[in-house]
Amino acid sequence: MKTIIKGRVWKYGDDVNTDVIFPGKYTYSITDRKEMAEHALEDLDPDFVKKVQPGDIIVAGKNWGCGSSREQAVISLKEAGVGAIVARSFARIYFRNCINEGLPIVTCDAVDSVETGDEITIDFGQGKVITPRAEYHFPPLAPSVMEILDAGGLVPHVKQKLGIA
């Protein structure tokens, strides 16, 4: 994983649930990861899929990803090109699913000082998020969790660990 990520912001509010990130009606009908991306955030922000660019960063309020445990709510964003998610807090299983899918996440209050379209920098080495107006510190993820992110997710991480190429 890159230790410094720069990207354009998509700003959202509190309690964004997995149903609006990836609608329930597609959970059994769509199995292709790329196709999942076409529906990312469909019920929250129809513009998102049209305008998202590789490396963009979602910055949100509290309890991002609450509701169902569906992993598609992480996969669809990752496949759409999202480089990281920065939120005030994450719902528990969503947090785990991000790590396991290899999507970097940061818990801090950056949402207080950004607007959609801003450019921000996440420095994982220093535990810092730099927005045009402020700087936020976040606690580092545990080394064992960073290893999973570095490997690109849990499946590749387990492969490495078990010595399967």
Partner: protein, 417 residues
């Protein structure tokens, strides 16, 4: 400073002297619970590239969600699960008809005090009722646990809920937990380990404790817990030959939050659509007509629940416009209820008996709703569209409230009967 249950058990399992909230530990679960999603998990497991599960004794697999298979797709998925069980030499496999995973797991002696249990189902916290640490995980992680025998867990902050007072007549554990969720909200215990304690909990049956820990998931909790005691030991007697370690929180443990409830004045509670924390006393919604009533699920499909319903319905007839669906949570419960005459009482009163399993709870079969219909259910979730149409409504209540409502054909306060 003392340690909470979560801090102590995760330290013990990780081989550390102590842990603090926020710390990440790597542990080997004692049990990995999977259900109908085993076939999907097995596919990811193969993608990892391993042939054998790390420890076949860790796996407990129970087919319960859509049983018997509702169509060919489910039938194929069940078949793949049976093949996987065979290939991997997994002994703890329970096929169609045994019951809901969260009931069968403890009944068959797979959930014991001091165990660490992970499950690919969000209501896995139920097993804290027996003093285990039990948490839900995603499917990819379940596949990784199969491959490696390990998982990373974040040590949660802990919340202690102290309950005092005697339950009034026709008020039960479900009413208490709905009241708490209404109070603290659906994210009131996000990420936390919730310990239920106090005299009311100590005098509660295992079934009641399972209701509390099951619904801890609806507060956002990582796990629920009740300290094991004589009630636990008696319930487990004859179900396991294994020894177990009871892990208890220290008396001076440090809690992020402590809440106190007195149940002596508690009324029956109802969660209105479409959120579990949209809770009011039943008196605010009585008279609302219903089309369907459901008694069962991993929350309230146990013998004492069926007993409470039979007590209300014995010798009477439900309202002619209501479908009353009764699903014992397991074969064991079904048999006991038959022996006690409860099943006959309910069926004579007009109930439709369904096989042990999840039944209509997840809206896949056996009792889905049409637009505009209303169900009152003993389940744990009332989300939009969960039991069929997105334009249908689900109200949640206790078995007594649901039985009373089936009788009158409208939401009814069971204390009025």
């Amino acid at each position: 400073m003392g340690k909470t249950f979560a801090e102590k058990i995760l330290a013990a399992k990780a081989g550390l002297d102590e842990t603090v909230p926020g710390q990440i530990v790597t542990v080997q679960p004692d049990r990995l619970l999977t259900h109908d999603n085993t076939s999907a998990i097995a596919k990811t497991f193969r993608k990892i590239g391993t042939d054998r599960v790390a420890n076949p004794n860790m796996n407990v697999i129970i087919l319960d969600h859509v049983v018997p298979a509702a169509n060919e797709t489910y039938a194929q998925s069940h078949k793949e699960t049976r093949e996987f069980v065979q290939q991997q030499g997994i002994e703890a496999f329970y096929d169609v008809g045994e019951g809901i995973c969260h009931q069968v797991l403890p009944e068959q002696g797979h959930a014991l005090p001091g165990m660490l249990i992970v499950g690919s189902d969000s209501h896995t916290p139920s097993h804290g009722a027996l003093g285990a640490f039990a948490a839900g995980i995603g499917r990819t992680e379940a596949a990784a646990v199969m491959a490696t025998g390990e998982i990373w867990l974040r040590v949660p902050e802990s919340m202690r809920i102290e309950v005092t007072g005697e339950m009034p007549p026709q008020v039960s554990a479900k009413d208490l937990v709905l009241h708490i969720i209404g109070d603290i909200g659906a994210d009131g215990a996000d990420y936390m380990s919730v310990e239920f304690a106090g005299p009311t909990i100590e005098s509660m049956s295992i079934a009641g404790r399972q209701v509390l820990c099951n619904m801890a998931a609806e507060m956002g909790a990582k796990n629920g817990y009740v300290a094991p005691d004589e009630t636990t030991r008696q319930w487990l007697a004859g179900r396991t030959t294994s020894t177990y370690d009871e892990i208890l929180p220290d008396e001076d443990a440090d809690y992020a939050r402590v809440l106190h409830y007195d149940v002596s004045g508690l009324m029956p509670q109802i969660a209105r659509p479409h959120r579990v924390d949209n809770v009011v006393p039943v008196t605010q919604v009585t008279g609302l007509p219903i089309n369907q009533a459901l008694i069962g699920t991993c929350t309230n499909g146990r013998l004492e629940d069926l007993r409470a319903a039979a007590q209300i319905l014995r010798g009477k007839q439900i309202a002619p416009w209501v479908r009353l669906l009764v699903l014992p949570a397991s074969r064991e419960i079904l048999l006991s209820a038959m022996e006690e005459g409860i099943i006959a009482d309910l069926v004579k009163a007009g109930a439709t008996l369904l096989n042990p399993g999840c039944g209509p709870c997840l809206g896949a079969h056996e009792g889905c709703m049409a637009p505009g219909e209303r169900t009152i259910s003993t389940a744990n979730r009332n989300f939009k569209g969960r039991m069929g149409s997105r334009e249908a409504e689900i109200y949640l209540g206790s078995p007594a409230t649901v039985a009373a409502s089936a009788l009158r054909g409208a939401i009814t306060d069971p204390r009025e009967l």
